[in-house]
């Protein structure tokens, strides 16, 4: 398969007062890639996701998605274009059931999100919805409120809600943060299996080097709002500069 460029950032910069959260970020993501983004707290990882998804507007530079300029396009429009994201702190509908939440994503994907006469619970949606929950290991919770999920489940549902939108690019913000050490790899195994099966271009932000090492095929290291290294995990994570920036030691 020839490389097709999905995302391109050109000199993207953003400052908050004196703090430069993104400092001339330039990078490309090709179709089918699985990219891990590492960096210490405050290195600009999440800011980068916020810039790509339109939550923040860059002060300078451009973001191209599938070759089209989408700099500063608001989140809703970005989502419609095909970029979906998950959140470090799961963004769920706590008073809806797990299945209802997912059905809403499926309805949105089908362009029926604002239909006000057809029922949410349609047969055409329920079985794919349950199937998707099965893949995410959430089937047993289908009829429970989202607020009743354990933390790992909350993370998975947050990602499932984005995945159900059938994006062309999936951005995951710290998929394992807040998940216990025992569950961490299980959550990642589940996710990576789904991503691999659907050949979805995925970028995940992660501060846990072990997770990045194990699951990504390419790593971008962030420090002070810049990309300081970009390449295959073994090489990037062994780089003394990266180790110093991310771990604070070599």
């Amino acid at each position: 398969m020839p490389d097709a460029q999905v995302l391109k950032a050109l000199d993207v910069s953003k400052s908050f007062g004196m703090v430069t959260a993104a400092d001339g970020i330039t990078l490309e993501i090709q179709a089918g890639e699985l990219v891990g983004v590492v960096g210490a707290n405050g290195s600009g990882k999440t800011t980068f996701l916020n810039l790509v998804t339109g939550y923040l507007r860059p002060d300078r530079g451009r973001v191209l998605f599938m070759g089209n300029d989408c700099t500063g396009v608001p989140p809703r429009a970005i989502t419609k274009l095909g970029i979906a994201r998950s959140f470090q702190i799961p963004q769920l509908y706590t008073n809806l059931t797990v299945l209802e939440s997912l059905l809403l994503s499926l309805a949105a994907e089908a362009g029926e999100g604002v239909a006000f006469w057809r029922p949410l619970y349609s047969q055409a949606r329920i079985s794919p919805g349950l199937e998707l929950l099965e893949r995410f290991g959430l089937r047993p919770y289908a009829h429970r409120l989202a607020s009743e999920l354990p933390e790992g489940g909350r993370k998975l549902l947050d990602i499932a809600l984005s995945f159900a939108l059938k994006p062309k690019l999936l951005l995951l913000d710290e998929p394992t943060s807040g998940v216990s050490i025992e569950d961490k790899f299980q959550v990642m195994d589940t996710l990576m299996k789904i991503v691999a099966e659907s050949r979805l271009t995925t970028v995940f932000v992660e501060h846990d080097m072990e997770v990045v090492q194990r699951y990504s095929r390419r790593v971008l290291a962030f420090d002070n709002g810049r990309v300081i290294a970009d390449g295959e995990p073994g090489r990037v994570l062994a780089d003394p500069d990266v180790r110093k920036a991310v771990l604070g030691r070599v």
């Binding site: 809703r76 963004q91 706590t94 008073n95 809403l104 309805a107 999100g113 604002v114 006000f116 949410l120």
Partner: protein, 322 residues
């Protein structure tokens, strides 16, 4: 519990159908008025689900009532079957206009902006004497039903059953609305607007569509109340009326469609009896009831009922087993 619950709507509907046959005229009047107001209460309840409160929905209620007033006065239009959809349409149109501003706001701004718009309408209705007759108000006159003019004696019953039929249609319509993706987004809004936007949907659109629907509901309620009471005054748009709608939604419980219905009927009776037995303190009675509801059963009367039925159902099952 299942068997008990599935009978409830039928029993409730049967009771409502039986009202004019078995109860005196003044009660028929009270229930008809309660049903008319229920539609406006339902409009308010929709927003309560989304975590938003409106202190101005009486404006749509007034639009409906004045549709009747002007319809009769200017066009000699007094057919209720025509005026109901017309009131719904004008209520919706008014909401479509006001909603352009309202859909941008949440929380206290939404509450107070609604109040502001309703009081502006109140001011207009009050001051434009040569058009609206100010506090003298307009007379609704006697309605016809698809051209048929019932006798004065049977009018009350005709009006009652018309209201009841409209109630059934409204309950069905709002139920469908709440079961739709947009209805669920409305509920989801209270939890998380960010996730909705990141699903590619517009929260503002959800609010706007709901607002237009709520305007239509208020309009229908206003038409029916206008005919039931017979006299249309600017107070229809007054903030106390809006406050009543919020009060009733909380009293009955806003998480279901039935809650506001139960609340409306209960409210009219509480008010009638409270003002009969405590003529000077009846508002205090309402206040105490509200306090008790909020403190002990924030789900409202309907939640209390569900709880009681649940307990009875459990006891019945246990008795069966024993």
């Amino acid at each position: 519990m299942g068997a008990w619950m599935s009978w409830t709507p039928l029993v409730g509907a049967a009771l409502l159908v039986a009202v004019p046959a078995v109860l005196p005229d003044w009660i028929v009047f009270i229930v008809a008025l309660a049903l008319a107001k229920f539609m406006a209460v339902l409009a308010v309840a929709l927003f309560l689900r989304a975590g938003m409160v409106s202190f101005g929905h009486a404006m749509f209620y007034a639009v409906g009532a004045y549709t009747v007033g002007f319809g009769v006065k200017w066009f000699g239009l007094r057919d209720i079957v025509l005026l109901i959809p017309l009131g719904a349409l004008l209520g919706a149109a008014f909401a479509a206009l006001v909603g352009l501003v309202m859909a941008r706001y949440r929380e206290v701004f939404f509450a107070m902006l609604n109040l502001a718009f309703s009081m502006m309408l109140y001011g207009v209705l009050l001051k434009l004497y040569w058009i609206t007759a100010g506090t003298d108000g307009l007379s609704a006159g006697l309605p016809t039903f698809l051209g048929y003019a019932p006798s004065r004696e049977s009018l009350r019953v005709f009006l009652y059953y018309t209201t009841l039929v409209v109630t059934v249609i409204v309950v069905f319509g709002v139920y469908r609305f709440l079961a739709s993706p947009l209805g669920f987004y409305l509920k989801a809004m209270a939890d998380n607007e960010i996730r909705i936007e990141y699903s590619g949907e517009s929260v503002r659109h959800v609010v706007y569509v709901t607002y237009v629907l709520s305007g239509a509901l208020g309009g229908i309620g206003g038409v029916l109340a206008g005919f039931t009471v017979g006299h249309i005054v600017p107070e229809y748009s007054f903030w106390i009326q809006s406050g009543d709608f919020v009060f009733v939604a909380l009293l009955g419980g806003y998480t279901s469609v039935v809650g506001p219905l139960v609340g409306s009927i209960a409210f009219e009776f509480i008010r009638t009896y409270a003002s009969k037995y405590f003529p000077n303190e009846w508002q205090m009675v309402l206040g105490i009831i509200m306090l008790a509801i909020i403190l002990f059963r924030p789900g409202g009367l309907w939640a209390i009922y569900e709880e009681v039925v649940g307990r009875f159902g459990r006891r019945a099952r246990e008795a069966k087993r024993a």
